[in-house]
Symmetry: C2
Subunit: 492 residues, 2 copies
C-alpha cells in the first residue's frame, strides 16, 4: 500500500486518481489514453458484467459478436451518426509492417499494404450491426431481434481519466429491431429500467431516470433516455443510456420487413449501453478518505480474516479455528480470504483491506482464541466489535445485506440533500458553486437557453426527469413558459 490518500475535501479529483491507482483498480498504459484494468478492478467489473448479463438474458436478450472494424463508408450512411463520431476515430489505413531498410531492427508501415477503404475501430456498432441486420430481417417473423454485445470500443478522447473517459473502454451495447415504434419505445424504457435497477440494487447508487434534451442526444437517435447519478463532490455522472433510434438506421442501411398485413416498412430500432465508466461511478459514489467502500454485492472479497499471531503455532491454531467458518461462508455464497501472509504486519493489512473496500474484516488473536470471540469490523461505518465466534456466519450474512442497504441509504441521503428546486438564475448560479448537486429548475425548452446556462456556469441539463418536477412554471433564465422542471448539474 502506498501513502495516505489526498483527502476528498482537499482535492476530490486527485483523491479519485490516487484511489483508483492505489487500490489496484487500473492504471494508465503506455498507449495514449488507454488504461490497464488490473485484476482487482477487473474482478469488480466481472461481477457487474455477470449481473447485467443475467438481467439482459432474463429480459429475453441473447449475446452475439460483430466486427471490431467499421468501413468508413458505413459510418457515412447515417449523417448525424457520422458527425457525432468522425472527430474521435482510430483509423486503420494499412495491413502490414515491414523491416525498415534504413534502420536496423526497426519496422515501418509497408506502403504497399494501403487499404482501399479505411477501417474505423468501432466507436459504437450501430453501423456495422444494421448492415448485418439487413441480411437477417425480411418478415415480421424475424422480429424482434434482441441482441447484446460485450465489446471494447475506441473513441479518441483528448483528455482522459481512468474509467471515466478513456480512449478504449469496455462496454455492452444492445441493438434491437422491432416491427413497431411503440414496441421499440417500450424496449428503450425497459432497458433503462434494467440499468436503474442494476445501479440501485447492485451498485447501491440511486439514479434519476429521464430523457436527454435534443442537443445531448446520441448521434442518430430520436430519443436518448439516461440514468443520472450524483457523486460525492456534487457533480452528476451519466451512468447509462438507452436510445430510441426510430427508423434512422433502418433507412440508412435499407432494412425493411413485410408486416403480418403484407405491408413493407422500415424496421424500428433501439440501442443501449453501459461501460467501464460505471467503475468510476462506483468509486466516487461511496468511497472515503481511507479508500474504497464496496457494496457487498460487487465486492470481489466480501470478508477478510486477519490473524493476529506470534509464531507459526499460533497462526496454525487460528487457521484451524477459521477453516470451518470459511467453508460455511463459501457454502452460503460469501467470498472470504484468510490473509496469512507472513511478510506483512496486521496493521498494514488492516489499512490495505480498508483501501480495497472489503466490506467486513474479522481479526482473531490469542485472546479471542481463549475467549471464543472474534473482532468484526464494518468498512461502511467503521464500527468494530468483539463478538462471540459462535454464530458469526449468520451475523456476517446479515451484514452483507445491512452494508449494502446502508451504502444505498447514505448515497440516497446525500442526493436528497443535494437536489434543490430553484426558481431564479442568480440563486441557481450561487448554489451551484456553494452547494453543488442536482437542481430542478424551469427551462424554456430552447437550445439557446441551454447553451447560455452551459457557457455561464458549466452546468448542463442532465435530463428531463421522469416523474419529477412535472409542474408548469417559467424559465429561470428567460422567464418564458415551461411545462416541467428539468435536472441541471455540473457533470463528469
Amino acid at each position: 500500500m502506498a501513502d495516505k490518500l489526498t483527502p476528498r475535501a482537499t482535492d476530490y479529483s486527485k483523491w479519485y486518481n490516487e484511489l483508483v491507482i492505489n487500490a489496484d483498480l487500473a492504471e494508465h498504459s503506455a498507449v495514449r489514453g488507454c488504461m490497464v484494468i488490473k485484476p482487482y478492478g477487473f474482478a469488480i467489473w466481472e461481477k457487474m458484467r455477470d449481473a447485467l448479463d443475467k438481467m439482459f438474458k432474463d429480459t429475453g436478450h441473447v449475446n452475439a459478436y460483430f466486427p471490431l472494424f467499421v468501413p468508413k463508408s458505413f459510418l457515412e450512411k447515417e449523417e448525424g451518426h457520422a458527425e457525432g463520431f468522425a472527430k474521435e476515430c482510430a483509423v486503420v489505413t494499412h495491413y502490414r509492417l515491414k523491416v525498415d531498410p534504413n534502420e536496423k531492427g526497426k519496422l515501418m508501415v509497408d506502403p504497399d499494404s494501403k487499404l482501399e477503404e479505411e477501417l474505423i475501430v468501432r466507436p459504437t456498432s450501430e453501423a456495422i450491426i444494421w448492415n448485418t441486420y439487413k441480411g437477417w430481417i425480411q418478415s415480421y417473423r424475424d422480429l424482434p431481434i434482441l441482441v447484446n454485445q460485450w465489446a471494447n470500443v475506441v473513441r479518441w478522447e483528448m483528455r482522459t481519466r481512468l474509467f471515466l473517459r478513456t480512449a478504449e473502454f469496455l462496454w455492452q451495447e444492445g441493438h434491437t429491431a422491432h416491427a413497431t415504434a411503440q414496441e421499440a419505445i417500450g424496449e428503450t424504457k425497459k432497458m433503462l429500467d434494467v440499468y436503474a435497477e442494476f445501479a440501485e440494487k447492485w451498485m447501491a447508487m440511486p439514479v434519476i431516470k429521464g430523457s436527454k434534451t435534443e442537443s445531448e442526444r446520441f448521434a442518430g437517435a430520436l430519443d436518448t433516455m439516461c440514468i443520472e447519478a450524483l457523486m460525492q463532490d456534487g457533480k452528476a455522472l451519466q451512468a447509462g443510456t438507452s436510445h430510441f433510434l426510430g427508423q434512422n438506421f433502418a433507412k440508412a442501411f435499407d432494412v425493411k420487413f413485410t408486416s403480418k398485413e403484407g405491408v413493407l416498412d422500415y424496421v424500428w430500432a433501439t440501442s443501449w449501453g453501459v461501460s467501464t465508466r460505471l467503475m468510476g461511478a462506483l468509486v466516487m459514489a461511496h468511497s472515503d478518505d481511507q479508500g474504497l467502500r464496496l457494496p457487498p454485492m460487487l465486492a470481489p472479497i466480501q470478508v477478510v480474516i486477519v490473524p493476529i499471531y506470534k509464531g507459526e503455532e499460533q497462526l496454525a491454531t487460528i487457521g484451524e479455528k477459521v477453516t470451518p467458518l470459511m467453508q460455511e461462508l463459501k457454502s452460503r455464497g460469501i467470498s472470504v480470504k484468510f490473509d496469512d501472509d507472513d511478510t506483512k504486519r496486521s496493521g498494514w493489512k488492516f489499512a490495505e483491506y480498508e483501501l480495497k473496500g472489503v466490506p467486513v474484516r474479522l481479526a482473531m488473536g490469542p485472546k479471542d482464541l481463549e475467549n471464543g470471540t472474534v473482532e468484526i469490523a464494518r468498512r461502511d461505518n467503521g464500527t468494530k466489535e468483539t463478538v462471540p465466534f459462535e454464530g458469526i456466519a449468520d451475523r456476517i450474512q446479515q451484514l452483507m445485506i445491512d452494508i449494502q442497504d446502508n451504502l444505498f441509504a447514505q448515497a440516497m441521503g446525500y442526493r436528497e440533500e443535494h437536489i434543490t428546486r430553484v426558481d431564479s438564475y442568480e440563486e441557481f448560479k450561487k448554489l451551484l458553486d456553494d452547494k453543488g448537486g442536482f437542481f430542478l429548475a424551469h427551462w424554456d425548452g430552447t437550445k439557446e437557453t441551454e447553451e447560455r446556462v452551459k457557457d455561464d456556469t458549466k452546468a448542463t441539463i442532465r435530463c428531463i426527469p421522469f416523474g419529477m418536477g412535472e409542474e408548469e412554471g417559467v424559465c429561470m433564465v428567460t422567464g418564458k413558459p415551461s411545462k416541467q422542471r428539468v435536472l441541471f448539474a455540473r457533470a463528469y
Copy 2:
C-alpha cells in the same frame, strides 16, 4: 432452415461452410476476413468461455484487461516476435476523420491527425503486457503473476474461413511471470493439461499433447506445447498452445526482480491461448451430414420438446403436460425449449433441431397423451424410442452423460483408427492420400527434412508427442538416427 447440406463425402470443406452458416453459428461480415458470431454460435462460445474461465480460476489465475493497441516500437523489442507478426498487422495511423470538402456527405481521413507513432491492433499481447509488468515486478514477493485476458485480436490473414482462420477472432491469452525457469515450465505444462482436459471433457474431443518443433514455435518462445485434434476428414487441427517464453520478453522489456537471496535476475514467462477456432474444431470433430452434433455439456439447448398437434386445444394440453417436466429439467440444470411456434410444421422443426445439434428431442402427440408416453430421439446416434412419460427426467439426465461419452468414444475410435505408425517415406505418402490422419514416424530432427516433407506432401510435424512413440529408430526420409517418433499430419 435452408436446403440439405452438401454431404461430407462429396466436399468436406463445402459441408463445413454450409453447416456453420445454416446452423446459425456465424457468417461473413462486410469487413474483409471478419466474421459475425451469431447468437446460437455465441451461446456455444459462452459455454466454452465460462468452463475455461472457471478452470483458470481454479488453478489460481485472475483476469485483467490490457490495451487493444500496441505501439510499433514495442513490437520491435523482441526480434523473433516482431518478425512473426509484422506481416499481418492492422495499423492505426490516424485518429480523426473529417468532412470531405470535395464530396458532399463523405468523410476523409484528416491528414492533420497523423499519429507520431503508429499503433498496431494487437495480434497478441506479449509486448504490451510485458511493458506493463515492468511496473508491477520488483521483488520475488511480486511473483508469480498469473493473469489471463479475454479479448479480441487481429491478424491480417489473406485466406480466411469462418472460425478456423479469421482476421479478427476472440480468444483468451494467459500471461504469467515467474521467479524460476522450472516454475514457468511447470505452468506451461499445467495450462496445456487444462486445455487437454477441457477439449476431452467438455468438447468430447480427444487430443494429443506434445511440443512443436523449433520451426513451428510461437514467435519469441523457447518451447511451444500444443494439443492436436483430428477432424473427420483426416486432417489435424491445433486446438490450443502453451508457450514457455524463457526470459526473452523480460529481457526485451527489461523486467528484473530481486530474488529471496538478493540476486537481480530477469523474470521467466509463459503465455497460453485458445480461441474461437475451437468452435471450428467442435463442428468438425462431431457433426454429420444432417448437421451439428453438440456435446450436451456445450449445447445451448440440451433438450427440445416438439408438440405434434391439431388445433389450439391439443397444443394447450401438451403444454400443460410438459410444463412440470420442463421445471424439473431446469432444476437439474438441464436447458430445455418447448417449441410451440405455430408457423412451422413439426417435420421442419425436427430437421431444424437436427441441424442445430440439440442432443435430445422429445416429441409428444395425441397418442402419447392417451398412452402416457413420449417419443425420445438422440441426436448422436439417431435412435428413436417411444417410452413412458413417467420417469423421463431421470432418463434424460442419464442421456446427457451417455451422449457426451458416446461422442467422445466415437471421436476417439476414429482417431485410433487414423493414427498410423509408418517407417517408409513411400508408405507415408501413400497412406497420407489414401487414409489420412495422424502418422507416427521417425524424423532426423532437422529443419531440412521437415521442410522437405512439407514441400513433398503438405504434411507437417504437428508435435513431438508426450508419452507416445518414444523409441529409437531411423528417419523415414533420410535414414539418419531418431530418438523418438513424431506426429505428422496434414492440418488446418
